[in-house]
């Protein structure tokens, strides 16, 4: 039992923090929120140069051969800096499923491009009913000679406008159990018939409606097994939930630090507000929520990284984070007072991202039901 990061992970963390503090200031974050692309291609290339996109990919595909746990450290720092862009989409939603279930040809074709920063990927999973269960997959892919033709609407697709490829989860067969008959396709985002419409979100991130209208994809673009994609989708959701926990953890850790600093500096009634017991207790509550988030997130990341069954650990982490971040956000604002609810204060960047993260890749209710099953209820 050891809850601390290794020396290498501490180094990676420090390197990431220094780099992002320097290269991802809030001016950039703000600029990206209103830009069409939503990310800085120059920064993206620099990150690729640091080996971040290929961090966990094997060396033979141009990667760094590191672990998911190492990646988690990086994701936490990205959350702390509110890094805009398609990192989670490309690396967690794109490259890891290809590494998991792609054939050798697919791995050779796509993974080096991801590692080099050349290709951006995303996942088109959720649909207008906005659920993460198999029964909700209604986008249809119909066989047509050597191709499949995809039709339907995906919603809440991150970074679709800049993606070179989409992993599209589609129904290829209507069977008794909704988990059966689902297939993942690797789709060229430039294929005719794909149209994207941007959604305006609280986090000002780039989520899209992606409509597939008679989109023709070759059979060889199937990722994994025909009709048997759901088990991989579950893995993708689990991994993405942990990644989102890591980002959120970085965000709420930063909120705690900002808030404590503010409570030490801000004076009212001739004393720092942080000397009032009520403020101290609020801060203690925040710290407890953040530490609970830290250990549960890293427990999930470690378990996943070790290749052990992690359904319960992931569910614990995301169920906790989804609610802990509400509490931390609320107290950070209460302590910051009115200045914290202005658009010019940095706190709002974190609040909006934390609030959006609550439901992304499953909310607390979703994971509580999974835990109930794990408990044998």
């Amino acid at each position: 039992m050891d809850l601390s990061l290794s020396e290498e992970q501490e180094m990676l963390k420090k390197m990431a923090r220094d780099f992002l503090t320097n290269r991802c200031p809030k001016t950039l974050v703000k600029e990206m929120e209103t830009s069409e692309k939503g990310y800085s291609p120059e920064l993206w290339q620099e990150m690729a140069g640091l080996g971040w996109m290929g961090l966990v990919l094997p060396e033979k595909y141009g990667g760094g051969g590191m672990s998911f746990l190492d990646l988690s450290v990086l994701l936490e720092e990205m959350g702390r800096s509110c890094l805009p862009g398609p990192f989670l989409s490309t690396v967690v939603l794109g490259s890891l499923p290809i590494l998991d279930i792609g054939n050798e040809e697919q791995k050779r074709e796509y993974l080096p491009k991801i590692a080099s920063g050349e290709a951006i990927f995303t996942l088109a999973l959720t649909e207008p009913n906005a659920k993460y269960d198999a029964a909700s997959i209604a986008v249809k892919a119909t066989a047509d000679n050597n191709d499949y033709i995809i039709n339907g609407t995906k919603l809440f697709v991150p970074d679709a406008h800049i993606a070179d490829y989409l992993l599209c989860v589609a129904r290829t067969n209507e069977l008794a159990k909704p988990e059966n008959g689902i297939t993942i396709f690797l789709v060229d985002a430039k294929s005719p018939g794909i149209s994207c419409a941007v959604l305006k979100t609280i986090a000002s991130d780039k989520l899209y409606e992606v409509v597939f209208d008679q989109v023709r994809v070759p059979k060889k673009s199937i990722l994994g097994q025909l009709d048997q994609g759901w088990s991989e989708v579950q893995k993708i959701i689990e991994r993405a939930a942990v990644a989102k926990c890591c980002e959120t953890l970085g965000g709420i850790q930063q909120m705690l630090e900002m808030t404590v600093d503010y409570a030490k500096e801000r004076k009212q009634f001739d004393r720092p507000i942080g000397s009032f017991q009520v403020i101290q207790h609020y801060c203690a509550n925040m710290a407890t929520d953040v530490d609970g988030s830290r250990f549960s997130t890293y427990q999930a990341a470690w378990t996943l990284s070790e290749g052990l069954p992690c359904t319960k650990e992931v569910a614990i982490a995301k169920a906790w984070l989804s609610e802990a971040c509400k509490r931390v956000t609320a107290l950070a604002h209460q302590i910051h007072g009115a200045i914290g609810v202005t658009i010019d204060h940095d706190l709002q960047f974190y609040t909006r991202r934390a609030n959006a993260a609550e439901a992304t890749f499953g909310d607390a209710d979703f994971y509580r039901e999974i835990i109930a099953q794990e408990m044998g209820l």
Partner: protein, 390 residues
């Protein structure tokens, strides 16, 4: 990072479970919720001692096993899971032995530690007084030097294990002139000395949870003063860290958790088990989430101890958090039981041995014992986050 226990540790866990399940099978005691660590059975303590499980992490030279604090964590986790009657040795094993190891003289170690390890010294805690609760340093019990002895006069309250202890850990004022934090000393003394009177205090459930201890000119040889005279308050602070450091703050009513889960699986409403009701599933799953978080926060505390640091802020955080979990567990169990929740153990129709109301009533005290949640938050904010006192 490694969130697993080693194979050897897992084997130890199995060994402890095997022992406890064997005890239960033989009907030697019944598992119960015991957040105050009231359940005591001298024979049980004796059997635990025979296995070398008291003073597990203490040095071998004093009869301990020199094992890691993680082994001790495993041991206590299983004791709590099964609601074992461990009160006779619990306090000495948790904090008093450690205080003697840290501050005691060689003579004190040789005299007291083997007795604790053999399961013969049941050490109770004499800290709080009528006018000294959270503000422990304002205590009034006095120890006045008289030749080779101290003469002790005063009163202690909320003495854990007070009705069956044969030793008491006592803090008393040894310098009435000094500022209040700087005139306090620690003692460990036998409770059969002339002048000591012990009377029980019942808690809200009607159980004898603590005792009041009166000292009327009790003569104590000077050699029972632990550590440095007048420096006791600083020694206590260290000890309190350990008092708060364990899983008993999270698992004090753990048997209720198992019992209420089982109850929802076995009880049908409208032809379906309660456990299939969405609201109940959500409530129980939420408890599981909170429990796992408490477990991680407490494991962190033990790892801090294992590193050789006193678990100050970490223990304060874990304890404040964990007792809130215990209260939430008790309250949720009551919600699930509805009208049946009010039936106490002896009542006809009482479900799950009346554990829920017992724990629910008792749980009001969980966030008071060993540092109120307010004092603990002060520690997290002040020492942990560096917030100013003025």
């Amino acid at each position: 990072m490694d969130f697993k226990f080693s194979e050897e540790q897992e084997r130890f866990r199995q060994e402890v479970r095997g022992f406890l399940e064997g005890e239960i099978r033989q009907g030697l005691w019944q598992p119960s919720c015991d957040a105050w660590i009231q359940g005591y059975l001298p024979e049980f303590t004796k059997r635990v001692a025979e296995r070398g499980w008291i003073g597990l992490a203490w040095p071998k030279e004093y009869g301990g096993q020199g094992r890691s604090n993680i082994d001790r964590l495993i041991l206590t986790e299983e004791m709590l899971r099964y609601g074992a009657p461990a009160a006779c040795h619990w306090f000495a094993d948790r904090q008093i032995g450690r205080a003697i190891l840290a501050y005691g003289t060689e003579q004190q170690r040789q005299e007291l530690l083997p007795k604790i390890i053999k399961g013969e010294a049941y050490v109770g805690l004499g800290m709080s007084e009528p006018e000294a609760g959270s503000d422990l340093a304002s205590l009034r019990t006095q120890a006045v030097e008289d030749g080779d002895d101290y003469i002790i006069n005063g009163q202690k309250m909320w003495a854990s294990c007070g009705m069956f202890m044969n030793y008491i850990y006592l803090v008393a004022r040894t310098d009435p002139e000094a500022p209040k934090h700087r005139g306090i000393s620690e003692f460990v003394i036998a409770t059969n000395l002339p002048g000591i009177t012990i009377t029980p205090t019942m808690d809200i459930t009607g159980s004898t949870a603590w005792a009041e201890v009166f000292f009327d000119s009790v003569r104590v040889p000077q050699r029972y003063l632990i550590g440095e005279k007048n420096h006791g308050f600083y020694q206590i602070l260290n000890q309190l860290d350990y008092e708060r450091a364990g899983l008993e703050r999270l698992m004090g009513n753990y048997p209720l958790f198992d019992a209420i889960i089982k109850f929802t699986k076995e009880t049908k409403q409208n032809g379906k088990p309660l456990s299939q009701d969405a609201l109940i599933r959500s409530k129980l799953a939420q408890l599981q989430v909170e429990f796992e978080i408490g477990r991680l926060l407490t494991y962190r505390v033990v790892l801090v101890i294992e590193e050789g640091r006193a678990p100050n802020v970490e223990a304060a955080m874990a304890k404040a958090y964990s007792t809130a979990f215990e209260q939430h567990l008790a309250s949720t169990a009551m919600d699930i039981l509805g009208l049946y929740g009010q039936l106490v153990a002896e009542s006809k129709w009482a479900p799950i041995l009346g554990m829920a109301p017992h724990s629910y009533l008792g749980s009001k005290g969980y966030s008071l014992q060993a540092g109120t949640s307010e004092i603990l938050r002060n520690i997290v904010a002040g020492r942990g986050l560096g917030l100013p006192s003025k």
